[in-house]
Amino acid sequence: MKFEEFKKPTWFQMNLRAVWGRAYPRIIGVNRELSWVFFETVLPLLGVAAFVYIYKALEAPPQYIGYVIIGGAMTAYWMNVLWSMAAQMYWEKEIGNLELYLIAPISRMSVLGGMALGGMFSSSVRAISTIVVGIVIFGISLSLPDPLMFAGIFIFTMIALYGMGMMFASLYMLWGREAWHMSSLFTEPIYLVSGFYFPVKGFTTMLGNPGTWIAAGASIIPITLGLDGMRQCLYPGNTDGFLPLWLELAILMVLSVVFLFLAKYSLAYMENLGKREGRLTMRWQ
């Protein structure tokens, strides 16, 4: 048996391949699990349908229906970050993939990065389907006068959000099932405080100053400002926005850097701790 030699890739090429390799099952998975995509498009819509009808009954401004559909679409990313980023590591460890990733001569961030990119892709398919179905069923209309700003908000929301997911993934690496409980615990409250169903400015309207603090606190979760910014872009000229768009973009940029840095740091820390305590692998045998 003779293997052909190949040109030794640079460190960068090697990690790029690793990212692509890890993203692959998630990207191809969309294709192989079409029924899932269907359910994950329809289920968020069922969730928002209730709000759509409440807004209609209350004769809320028409953009509110658009807001809640966008929120419904973005749940795909939040679910993905909680279940397929944060809680993923426990599963990868159990199945025996983690140790194979760890003995490979690549940056561990590439593995997490591949997970994130793949997750973004598969969630985008779901999110876009939700929006399309929302447009068809509820007849919402959107406009996009400033596509560049929208793209900026969206991209940095993704980087910051998945950066946070990568950080959770490394923190959860050594935890067992607790990771699952944490993820379940995080699901619903975040729907509320991050404003999946209504603009976070609603907190101020309803509760005054303390409401503003809730919105500000929730902004640590990138999806809060991301949602708010995207809504502002898609429905310009309203006063429902929480902060000025430029400021939201700037904060999202800062969050991106912070979360990516924290992810890298906690990953290195947890790996080291795991190596010392012998907790990187499940099976002792």
Binding site: P25, L100, P105
Partner: protein, 333 residues
């Protein structure tokens, strides 16, 4: 200059298991206890030991998955503390019963995924995967989902994954665990051929199958309770117990074998009952042949009757029993 593929000096590894509230106290396990070993480049080296001996712990340390508690370990000249990346570029690992990969992907896609962690261009990776699959007789399954594979085929896929990166040193942790005779044979032959192909290739294999260690390995270290008890070629290990000093006895079944314990000059003694045929099989490793008579005399004392007596050449199992004080399994005699 002879280069060592693995060099381990005074290596210790302890685990502290956390106390479960109200149930047990904090427990300290010494998984490796002052281990010293060298493995030469080009060697097929075996670690033989019972469950919990510390085999996997040693492999994990050498694979950079676990830090030593104290002592030194070098892999292909690199320190496991400091030069992790240099080590990782040159090694790979396959464990028995491994369930890695993603259920959604085909066997070939899964292995390709892992090839990407080593920067192998996809075309060459797929070429290698196909070659290895052919050699391991897995070709017909390359487009099946991994979860549909039987244990044997699964393990072959793991082997393809490990060997595809063309490692200089590969760690095989019980590679034939739970496999049938044919699959084990195929995998053993594959390992033998692989190491013969290039003199610089090294294999560290763990097993608790005696025959596997005997047949495959250039040298074997017998390990128990975290300690290396002996390390030599299988032939030399067998010479540790003198020839003709193993006595096998079949007697009519008895439940109580105390009569055979504590006979002076018996280094070790194991027994098993064959319910179906009503026979008890006894095996003695003797220091001195003269005591055969004492053993034979003990048979009537136990209330039984001799059915057959046989003197045999020592096997690796006998060496193991002599060193460890018990067999690897309860049944083998």
């Amino acid at each position: 200059m002879a280069r060592y593929a693995v060099e381990v000096k005074n290596l210790n590894r302890t685990f502290t298991t956390k106390a479960v509230r109200g149930k047990s106290k904090k427990e300290i396990v010494k998984a490796l206890n002052d281990v010293n070993l060298t493995i030469n480049e080009g060697e097929l080296f075996g670690l033989l030991g019972p469950n919990g001996a510390g085999k996997t712990t040693l492999i994990k340390i050498l694979c950079t998955l676990l830090l030593p508690s104290s002592g030194e370990a070098r892999v292909l000249g690199h320190d496991v503390h400091k030069d992790t990346n240099a080590i990782r570029q040159k090694i790979n690992m396959v464990s028995g019963g491994e369930t890695s990969g993603y259920g959604l992907l085909t066997v070939r896609e899964n292995i390709w995924l892992f090839s990407q962690l080593y920067g192998i261009p996809s075309k060459e990776a797929n070429r290698r995967i196909d070659m290895l699959m052919k050699e391991l007789k897995l070709e017909h399954k390359k487009n099946s989902k991994v979860r549909t594979l039987s244990t044997g085929l699964r393990q072959k896929a793991n082997m393809v994954r490990g060997f595809m990166t063309d490692p200089a040193l590969i760690f095989l942790d019980e590679p034939t665990l739970g496999l049938d005779v044919n699959a084990s044979r195929l995998i053993r032959d594959f390992i033998k051929n692989w190491i013969r192909e290039k003199p610089s290739r090294t294999v560290l294999l763990t097993t608790h199958y005696m025959v596997e260690a005997d047949e495959l390995c250039d040298r074997v270290a017998i390990i128990n309770d975290g300690r290396v008890l002996a390390c030599d070629t299988p032939d030399n290990l067998k010479k540790l117990i003198h020839q003709d000093s193993v006595l096998k006895l079949e007697i009519r079944q008895v439940d109580n074998v105390t009569a055979f314990e504590n006979i002076a000059g018996v280094r070790n003694f194991t027994h098993s009952n064959d319910m179906a045929s009503g026979i008890t099989r006894l095996k003695f490793i003797l220091d001195d042949e003269a005591i055969v008579a004492d053993i034979v005399a003990a048979v009537p004392k136990s209330g039984s009757k001799i059915l057959s007596v046989q003197k045999t050449e020592p096997t690796l199992e006998d060496v193991f029993v002599a060193l460890v004080g018990r067999g690897l399994t309860n049944h083998e005699v």
